[in-house]
Symmetry: C2
Subunit: 183 residues, 2 copies
């Protein structure tokens, strides 16, 4: 019987993870940011403020500002792909200060993600993912994707959305969800 | 060669989706809410306000209040499991008005999710998911999970977190991520 890693019948996390569809979904959602920023610019124009000021807005003084939320969402998607596929990602030094620079960052990361195919993630679960601040510990590719990269990605993306909404930018849930495959 | 549905080698969404690990992760994250609410109660006590007032807090007047964010996160996790497994979920009429009632709602949903095993999701991709307001259209189980249920779940969970943080509740990212599998 073909039941690789107990994917369908076993309990717990499987070794046949569809890394690629989840990475693709992150890419799709990152691509919605351009339209959010269009609406932010419209809002700034209508109200007469510099749209780049939004990038320093926070929901609490000890939370990251909008620009860092965008940078972090980009990073979690980029590293999710790179680390589980065992590749070195391009560096992004977090120097963005304008909306246009945020657009460029998002474009750079989504273009990087365009370079991946499902084949790049063969054996991704067997790959251990670690970071310096994890003090020698590591996660399996699957656990890293599901328990770490995905929740962090969505955390920063949604917080970015929330900051824009809190500032009055006219976004709706559809701007966040983007296109879905419906027939 | 064992390559079910082209899970590893093909492009695009695969038919061998690990529904169960993703449902489990949603359950894990829902279970972190109890600790958030502990911190909310501590904050209310220290500041001398009724903690239940937080449930009506919003980040923008045309966004849902906190209670609805919790209800929606619960619903997206519950329906993700039920619809992809082809089961009828329990009903939750959205009548919560207190923190204790929110705790009970979360407990009810996570207990419901405890009843699922990986085996319940056999053939989940072949199942079509539809809703009345989709006007006759439908999504595959996989697309529904990845493109709809998951982004919506995280959207509401993170917005709930953001509302609490915006009100001064002492949460940190670790309260949101919960436990991760690290060795």
């Amino acid at each position: 019987m073909c039941d690789p890693g107990g994917a369908l019948l076993g309990g717990g996390v499987t070794s046949v993870m569809p890394f690629y569809p989840l990475i693709s979904e992150m890419k799709t959602l990152l691509r919605t940011i351009d339209a959010w920023l269009d609406k932010a610019s419209e809002h700034a124009k209508a109200k007469g403020y510099d749209v780049n000021l939004l990038l320093q807005s926070r929901l609490a003084p000890d939370m990251f500002p909008l620009v860092r939320q965008f940078q972090s969402a980009c990073d979690h998607a980029k590293f999710a792909a790179a680390r589980t596929a065992g590749k070195d990602p391009p560096r992004h030094p977090d120097t963005e200060q304008t909306i246009d620079e945020v657009r460029a960052r998002v474009a750079s990361v989504t273009t990087y993600l365009d370079g991946f195919t499902a084949k790049d993630f063969e054996g991704a679960d067997a790959r251990r993912v670690s970071m310096p601040r994890w003090e020698g510990k590591s996660m399996s590719g699957t656990d890293y994707l599901i328990e770490y990269a995905l929740p962090n990605f969505f955390f920063h993306l949604t917080t970015a959305y929330a900051i824009l909404r809190h500032n009055g930018v006219d976004l709706g849930k559809r701007d966040y969800i983007g296109r879905v495959t419906m027939t």
